[in-house]
């Protein structure tokens, strides 16, 4: 088979999940739970096969191909097609998205079986996989789109699926509406980012005359210095979009709330795939970033700041998933910072490695949560407001969930950057590059890495070590095989994932060089590797001193509380960012909207301007006209219009009388004016 034949199969990578979506939408309720899950998983599995075929094809023809499907929008110079761009960058993402996605699908069959029963609505099971397939479809459109606009279709499509999945249990959460509000918040905050994406597209179109990636990049290259300002503006606005989707300062606030979705959602969408779309999009725009002046620095600084800020917040979380959520924000900050310093391969490397170990951590956390939930039901404990996510009710799960413990530990060590696990290599590559380019960013990231090892150590110790701190934790048992098997597979990837760009061999760098022209090979700096490893170990040791030596009691305050003082209060309150936005934006907008609706629109425009000034004025004017000109039918026309209608439309006679009088009145005034104008002029 030639490469072109294989490339022509690429649309199937989107089509399979789409078919899965349609099938489960139509027939999901009529087949068994397992059936619906298998259809959705098989769709992703087939997409994975297609992704591998694309990888094979790139081996034959590394330049890749563009596959046109149909024309979409064509107005004047604005021409956008439905087309896929298959190159080493998009195929890297394809493999990760379909591979990790497939494992999460299999896991979700087991997880959701129990979840729908805990939540009390088993009939909702197929809907979960409908949304999952919708998400996969949109994500694969995002990855393969060959223009800004087709990418944007996937971009908003994943946002929609995220919205639907966060509010999957839309009648649950705080006051019964918490989950729905979390979904809405995610969508709206992302829309703020989309504003940047849209404006970037507007500038791109009017400057380069096209929205297709390849054409924009070749045009930009040809223009060189003339395109610097435009490239700077475009990339800055694109970064606003990336900050929304990839949860960076100032738009990261939606991601922690997104944990309201079922855990497989958190793993797939809010850790492994969707949230990395911002990084992918920026790397895709590397040719523009290389031209731009201010943007790379802004990106690097924001990324590093986000990495540190989120890591600090993660230290003070008690909800097992929230720790991971802030950790995700922090790790996304690492990737964004990598993009900012021009380490595009390192960004993608960390993106893939992170997908492995963070998906693993989330899914294992799901296993823990359901284990505790099972234990809670089994122990029949009467604890009110029992929260199975709260690490303070856990403890001692090491012996009760053996497989989950080991895979969790692997994930945590990979995230902490302990060699030779995946996270060590990928994070180190970023740090090594940063040390050359931007020392400030480098040190901030090192500090964030230190905190990373600490909060993961804290979490593992609180969840798995010590003694159970509740009856539920005591009665916890290991999860079923459909859930555990994907965990083991992901654990293997988290261990060996570093190989995809192992120092010296650098397969990923070589692969991506085909698409990202001119990238340099990263250097492995032993000193940095040793430093960060020692720091991570020290950090874990510190966590052990605080949480391992003397395990905390269920109701006792966190040992950091007294030691950190005001800093603890700040990180416990997430640096008051949510409160600040609520005060600055949400409340302002709500009160402005109310004021406009009630005062400006209702009382001023409606009641005063219309009802008093215009309506009363009209009535008075017609009365005056009537008395002066003796045109009695004018005011009768106005009053009579109502009276006649009130009598009802009993016959069409009303039509004539009611209409003609009023009409005649108006037309008459008009004619008088016209005629007098014509006579006088």
């Amino acid at each position: 088979m030639t490469a072109d034949t294989l490339f022509s199969l690429a649309p199937l990578v989107i089509l399979f999940p789409l078919l899965g979506f349609v099938f489960n939408l139509v027939a999901g309720r009529r087949i068994s739970e397992r059936g619906a899950g298998i259809v959705a998983s098989a769709a992703v599995g087939l997409a994975f096969v297609i992704a591998i075929l694309q990888f094979v094809a790139l081996g034959l023809d590394p330049a890749g191909a563009t596959i046109h499907i149909a024309e979409w929008i064509a107005i004047g110079e604005l021409e956008v097609d439905w087309a896929l761009q298959i190159d080493t960058l998009s195929v890297t993402m394809l493999l990760m998205v379909t591979g990790v996605g497939g494992l999460i699908h299999i896991y979700a069959i087991g997880y959701m079986h129990d979840d729908v029963r805990f939540q009390g609505d088993p009939s909702r099971f197929p809907r979960f996989f409908v949304y999952f397939s919708l998400f996969m479809t949109a994500m694969l459109i995002l990855v393969t789109g060959n223009s800004y606009l087709t990418m944007f279709v996937g971009w908003e499509g994943v946002g929609l699926s995220s919205y639907l999945l966060i509010s999957f249990w839309y009648e649950k959460g705080e006051n019964g509406i918490g989950n729905a509000l979390a979904g809405k918040k995610a969508f709206i905050v992302n829309r703020v980012g989309d504003l940047g994406f849209i404006i970037a597209m507007l500038i791109t179109f009017w400057f380069f005359g096209t929205l297709t990636f390849e054409e924009v990049f070749s045009e930009a290259e040809a223009m060189g210095a003339a395109a610097v300002t435009a490239a700077t503006a475009i990339t800055l606005f694109l970064f606003v979009g990336a900050a929304g989707k990839s949860a960076q300062i100032p738009l990261f606030v939606w991601l922690p709330d997104a944990m309201a979705g079922p855990t497989p959602v958190s793993a797939l969408i809010h850790a492994a795939t969707m949230v990395t779309a911002g990084i992918y999009m920026l790397v895709r725009n590397a040719p523009l970033l290389e031209l731009a002046t201010v943007t790379p620095n802004v990106i690097a600084i924001v990324g590093a700041a986000t990495a540190l800020l989120a890591a600090s917040i993660a230290v003070a979380r008690f909800d097992i998933k929230r720790v991971l959520a802030y950790s995700t924000i922090s790790q996304l900050g690492f990737m964004i910072a990598a993009v900012g310093i021009g380490a595009y391969v390192a960004a993608i490397f960390h993106l893939v490695a992170h997908a492995f170990f963070k998906a693993l951590l989330f899914l294992s956390a799901g296993s823990v949560i359901q284990g505790v939930e099972h234990g809670h039901h089994h122990a029949d404990s009467a604890e009110e407001d029992f929260n199975p996510n709260d690490m303070r009710v856990m403890g001692g799960l090491r012996t009760r969930m053996k497989v989950t413990f080991w895979v969790y530990l692997i994930g945590a060590l990979a995230l902490a950057g302990i060699p030779p696990l995946a996270g060590f290599f990928s994070k180190d590559e970023i740090l090594a590059d940063a040390s050359h380019v931007n020392p400030a960013v480098y040190w901030v990231l090192v500090l964030a890495a230190f905190l990373t090892a600490f909060y993961m150590g804290r979490q593992v110790l609180m969840v798995f070590f010590g003694k159970p701190r509740s009856k539920a934790a005591e009665a916890t048992k290991e999860s079923p095989a459909t859930m555990v098997a994907p965990l083991v597979a992901l654990a293997v990837l988290a261990v060996g994932g570093g190989l995809i760009n192992a120092p010296g061999l650098l397969p990923l760098t070589r692969f991506l060089q085909e698409t990202l022209a001119g990238i340099e090979e990263p250097e492995f700096i032993a000193a940095i590797a040793i430093l960060t490893t020692l720091l991570a170990l020290a950090s874990i040791g510190l966590a052990w001193l605080l949480y391992g030596r003397r395990p905390i009691k269920s109701r006792a305050p966190d040992p950091l509380q007294s030691r950190l003082g005001p800093v603890w209060i700040a990180i416990r309150h997430r640096w008051w960012v949510d409160e600040f936005y609520d005060w600055l934006i949400v409340r302002r907008y709500v009160s402005m909207a109310r004021w406009l609706a009630e005062v400006a629109d209702e009382r001023f425009l409606h009641d005063w301007v219309h009802d008093r000034v215009i309506a009363l004025g009209y009535v008075r004017a017609t009365h005056w006209l009537a008395s002066v000109l003796d045109l009695r039918f004018i005011d009768r026309g106005f009053d009579g219009l109502g009276a006649l209608t009130r009598r009802g439309a009993s016959g069409l006679g009303v039509l004539q009388t009611g209409y003609v009088r009023n009409y005649a009145a108006a037309v008459f005034i008009g004619l008088v004016l016209v005629v007098s104008y014509l006579l006088l002029s």
């Binding site: 509406i177 829309r191 989309d194 849209i198 179109f205 209608t645």
Partner: protein
């Protein structure tokens, strides 16, 4: 076919309405079916018109032009014609009329015959507005639409229907008077009422264009409605019966935007260029204002009504970009708004028929009992807030592209503020969806609600199909308007050259 098809599309509903007079008014089922059949045949006739339409021809087609009567030397003609600027609107009208009549099946139970007669007369009026190419004839159709709509609101409306009906009537009439004056002036000065002839001549000097533009704009801006002339709209929508709201939002408002497109741009291109920043300013204020006020509503129908103010702001912004993207986007967005807002009013009507309230606080968690209804609503909501892949995005994005690069508007800030409106659309639309469908199902009255039935599904599904069609493959729709729009752009740019 050429000669009679447009007359047939325009007046077939009147024929049907006359036939209804011969059915005894107790036989309501027969009346409904007869009205529906009339609307269906009219729709089919409009498809026949479409099949004969040559989209590469920018000029009026299938023209019928007969002398009607004359005043002195001034000949008033019976002059119908269709081109790319109007064909989609005619199709939208005949399409929505069918769906609206189906929606009345169980909602309208009093004076069914009169209702249907008014409804069909209204259809004739609307189609006539889009096809009438003699200014006088156009004006007759324009004013004529007021009458049936007045009665639809005033007789079959809600509690404050009289107030709303009179307000609707007088408000729109007030603006029309200025247009009438301008029309008479144009006829006397130009020696003809023929729109294409007047446009061809381009004989109106620049400073006069300004005043004539304003006179026409008075009528159209109220109809659109442009901020701050929208005060009649929420009242009319809230009080109108569902089918009335669908047509009001779906078609009647488009008469305003169509008017700007056909008459203001065509007859007064210099004034249009000069006033474009001002129109853009009011359009953008309308976008933000409508979105914010919609968000603060408790009555779901009012929310949808104010969302129209916001959406029509986008249309106006696109039209007065005066370039090909803006105009194409503006026209397609007229159709999109007709579909999505029409569907939203149908949706609200279905709920009102079941619960007799539109207060959003009375609902919550309806997804559980009405999943099909919820799913279809979600699609329409997403269409309305411009999700890519659905129709609203195609229109909005092309409008933004157009206005961003528009020389006439002259500043990118209008567009940037309009993009903020895209965020705000998500805010009020998702708020509405959440209030109705999400959260706990805690109101006992809602627990027993039945999902929508086949007839109701049938009214929404055709719209949903179009929502996807325009969103994924808008080529055929843009293709129909392309040539005529290019002609308008050419006209405006040659006026711009004269101005320099």
């Amino acid at each position: 076919m050429e000669a009679w098809i447009l007359s047939l599309v325009t007046f077939f509903p009147v024929v049907g309405a006359m036939l209804l007079l011969f059915i005894r008014k107790e036989r309501e089922a027969a009346i409904r079916w007869a009205a529906l059949m009339t609307a269906v045949v009219t729709f089919l006739l409009s498809l026949l018109m479409l099949s004969g339409f040559d989209s590469s021809d920018p000029d009026l087609q299938m023209v019928v032009r007969l002398p009607w009567f004359s005043i002195g030397d001034l000949q008033i003609e019976y002059f119908l014609g269709v081109d790319g600027l109007s064909i989609l609107l005619v199709l939208l009208t005949t399409f929505l009329t069918v769906l609206s009549i189906i929606s009345t099946w169980t909602a309208i139970v009093e004076r069914v015959r009169e209702f249907m007669i008014f409804f069909l007369l209204l259809e004739t009026g609307m189609v006539g507005v889009f096809l009438g190419m003699d200014l006088f004839l156009f004006y007759v159709f324009w004013e004529f639409t007021l009458v049936p709509m007045y009665f639809l609101i005033g007789v079959w409306g809600g509690e404050r229907r009289m107030y709303a009906a009179i307000k609707f009537f007088l408000y729109t009439m007030a603006g029309s008077i200025f247009m009438l004056l301008a029309i008479i002036w144009l006829g006397l000065e130009g020696g003809t009422f023929s729109v294409p002839d007047l446009i061809e001549a381009q004989a109106i000097p620049g400073n006069l264009q300004f005043w004539l533009f304003l006179a026409f704009a008075a009528a159209f801006a109220i109809k659109v409605p442009m901020w701050p002339l929208h005060s009649w709209l929420p009242d009319a929508h809230v009080e109108a019966p569902t089918a009335g709201s669908v047509i009001l939002a779906g078609v009647l408002l488009k008469m305003g935007t169509y008017g700007f497109l056909r008459f203001n741009l065509g007859l007064f291109p210099e004034a249009s260029i000069r006033l474009a920043p001002w129109v853009a300013l009011f359009a953008v204020i309308g976008i933000i204002y409508g979105a914010a006020v919609a968000y603060a509503q408790k009555d779901v129908k009012k929310l949808v009504a104010y969302s129209s103010v916001s959406h029509l702001g986008f249309v106006m912004l696109g039209l007065f970009a005066l370039n090909i993207q803006g105009l194409q986007g503006g026209i397609v967005q007229m159709i999109n708004h007709g579909l999505s807002t029409g569907a939203l009013f149908l949706i609200v009507g279905m709920l009102y028929e079941r619960r007799h309230t539109r207060d959003m606080d009375a609902f919550g968690g309806l997804w559980r009992v009405m999943p099909i209804y919820a799913g279809l609503t979600l699609i329409v909501v997403l269409s309305s807030m411009g999700l890519p892949g659905l129709n609203g995005f195609v229109g909005e994005f092309t409008i933004l592209i157009g206005s961003f690069g528009s020389e006439a508007i002259g500043s990118v800030w209008f567009t940037i503020v309009a993009v903020v409106g895209v965020i705000l659309a998500a805010v009020y639309m998702l708020y509405m969806f959440q209030k109705l469908f999400l959260g706990p199902l805690d109101n006992d009255k809602n627990k027993v609600l039945l999902d929508i039935n086949r007839r109701e599904i049938f009214t929404l599904v055709p719209i949903v199909i179009l929502i996807f069609w325009i969103g994924l493959y808008p080529r055929p729709f843009f293709g129909l308007t392309e040539a005529s729009v290019a002609k308008v752009v050419e006209l405006v740019s040659s006026a711009a050259i004269t101005m320099r």
